[in-house]
């Protein structure tokens, strides 16, 4: 089969996933799929289980039942770093940059399969480590330029503004060369212009590199304009799943989420 990269195929499948915390079902029998090359939004009121679901996908937590498949293979229960190595990278609701490291080191750290990170290679294979480092530096410089971070390259990441940290975290995620990017509220704490820039970049990466995005977002306008598919969660369950135009007219969605905000069309 040569159809593995064909659009419309599910790159990520959430299959009847349940996660309980004590008596609470944080995620309750949730199922949906994310198509390869899509920008899928995950929305829902606070406490709907969105971030928990992201934790279950990225390995920070494991489901009590159900399965998470990435490119057909199960990733639920894998260690966080193994999920990342498969090509799934995430960002955090509250940005997590390595504060006491330079912006450049934050970027370089995200290079994958770097032989210089192995002690044995440092002793017996310095050539390959040096070449990998050069390649990583080039890639990092390019990405930093793309996000206007190049003038900050030598600054501590902890000295960046909130918006710049968000950009750095996103650029760093891209540095890993991911196939699926999970963004937890990429617009939170960012001014609209910067947020728009970030989402322009998301659209460009999807268009030019076929990258897939799943993002949690509260701003309904952004979701409706930017996502080609919307998954709506409420109280742990998936209550709707479809194109934005259809989802926003779904009475269950209006009831569960949009109606409460009073801004449903």
């Amino acid at each position: 089969m040569t159809t593995t990269r064909e659009a419309g195929e599910a790159i990520l499948a959430i299959e009847a996933v349940t996660k309980r915390f004590g008596g609470l079902r944080a995620v309750d029998d949730a199922s949906f799929a994310v198509e390869r090359g899509s920008i899928t939004a995950l929305i829902g009121p606070n406490g709907a289980g969105k971030t928990t679901l992201l934790d279950l996908i990225s390995g920070y937590d494991r489901p009590d039942s159900g399965a998470v498949r990435f490119e057909g293979r199960r990733i639920d229960g894998l260690a966080v770093h193994r999920v990342a190595r498969r090509g799934v990278v995430r960002t955090f609701q509250l940005t997590r940059v390595f504060a006491a490291m330079s912006v450049r080191d934050n970027m370089l750290l995200a290079a994958q399969r770097h032989p210089g990170e192995g002690l044995h290679r440092l002793a017996f294979g310095r050539g390959s480590a040096r070449r990998a480092e050069e390649a990583a530096r080039e890639r990092a410089e390019r990405l930093m330029r793309g996000f206007a971070l190049e003038s900050k390259a030598d600054d501590y990441a902890g000295a960046l503004s909130g918006g710049q940290r968000k950009l750095l975290e996103f650029a760093r995620a891209l540095m890993t060369g991911p196939r699926l990017v999970l963004l937890d509220e990429p617009m939170a704490g960012v001014n609209r212009a910067l947020g728009a820039k970030l989402l322009d970049e998301v659209e460009r990466l999807r268009r030019e590199e076929g990258m897939t995005f799943l993002f949690i977002e509260h701003d309904i306008d952004v979701v409706m304009r930017r996502a080609d598919r919307v998954v709506v969660m409420a109280e742990g369950a998936v209550v709707a799943d479809g194109p934005p135009a259809i989802v926003r007219r779904d009475p269950r969605v209006i009831d569960a989420y949009l109606g409460r905000k009073g801004d449903a069309a």
Binding site: S58, A79, H81, A84, R96, D105, E117, Y156
Partner: protein, 311 residues
């Protein structure tokens, strides 16, 4: 004894070199990986005892027993790390200090380790080397200073370890360690096997502790359990804090300053018993640490920004 006694200061040089090597391992764990290793002395005693027993009980030459002891100590580090490195930082600290105390009590009570009598007679090979080296030094007029070969060996080792650690720290490997110190969850999200890196950091620290333990054993001529009580680790922390957080060079300077200061106190003519002046040593160390934390929390050579950004 005069304050200008050469043998005395050479002895101080040896001890500060030993503390330097010991604390480089602590710095690797604490300053660069964020591992609060409070059991460093346990790795030192495992290494030193392993070396002693291989020579005395198994009849190995010292030159073979020493590298074997390093491997045994690294294996111990891995063994201690496997079940504990997933613990949160403070719990890991508690477990490591428990480990070092367990080691000490075992050596104190086990027949194979000589109990309170300890281990004696492992340093014949070293004496031969030292006699030979003294002979060579006599040719340039330095034959009178008995401990000089040990001083040179300790400091050559210290500087070698220092250079190796600084090279490692500037490598991509060192970058991952630092990221783990900053935020291990975020490092894992970027595909780093945090657990494996922590194990490597702990194993290397155990190896450094063994090198320090080797020179300690050569310096004191016999091994006994109370040499390895937790205050050794805490003195190492005092060296680390004085020298500076996340600075290997600071460790070397801190070790020299602290050892010179605490040993040099002997020259003060104080109406104290030897037990009392021994306690005074710790009072002074305590006061220095309090003063540092008030006026210069990053230590002499630590990066202030690096420390504050972490908070």
């Amino acid at each position: 004894m005069s304050i200008f006694n050469v043998d005395f200061w050479i002895g101080v040089g040896v001890v500060s070199g030993i503390y330097g090597i010991f604390t480089l391992g602590l710095q690797l764990n604490v300053g660069f990986t964020g591992l609060i290793n409070l059991g460093q002395v346990g790795f030192m005693s495992v290494g030193a005892y392993a070396m002693g027993m291989l020579v005395v009980d198994a009849g190995w030459p010292l030159a073979l027993a020493f590298p074997a002891a390093i491997l045994i100590s690294i294996a111990t580090g891995v063994l201690v790390g496997l079940p504990t490195l997933r613990l949160r930082a403070d719990y890991f600290g508690i477990v490591t200090i428990a480990f070092s105390e367990i080691v000490r009590y075992v050596f104190q009570n086990a027949a194979f380790a000589g109990g309170n009598q300890g281990i004696l007679g492992y340093d014949a090979d070293w004496r031969v080397f030292q006699a030979w080296a003294s002979g060579r030094l006599a040719a340039i007029g330095l034959g009178e200073v008995a401990q000089l070969p040990l001083l040179v060996a300790v400091w050559a080792s210290l500087l070698l370890c220092l250079a190796a650690l600084m090279a490692l720290q500037s490598s991509p490997w060192g970058r991952v360690l630092k990221a783990i110190r900053e935020d291990e969850d975020a490092a894992a999200a970027l595909g780093k096997n945090v657990f494996a890196f922590k194990l490597q950091s702990l194993g290397l620290a155990a190896a450094l502790a063994t090198v320090a333990g080797f020179f300690l054993a050569m310096n004191v001529t016999y091994l006994y359990p109370s040499e390895f009580d937790p205050s050794f680790t805490f003195f190492g922390y005092a060296v680390l804090i004085l020298g500076g957080f996340a600075s290997y060079g600071g460790v070397v300077v801190g070790a020299v300053l602290l050892c010179a200061l605490t040993e040099g106190l002997r020259f003060l003519e104080l109406p104290l018993s030897s037990g009392q002046s021994g306690s005074l040593r710790f009072i002074i160390v305590g006061l220095i640490l309090i003063g540092l934390s008030m006026f210069r929390p990053q230590g002499l050579f630590g990066g202030k920004a690096e420390m504050q950004l972490r908070a």
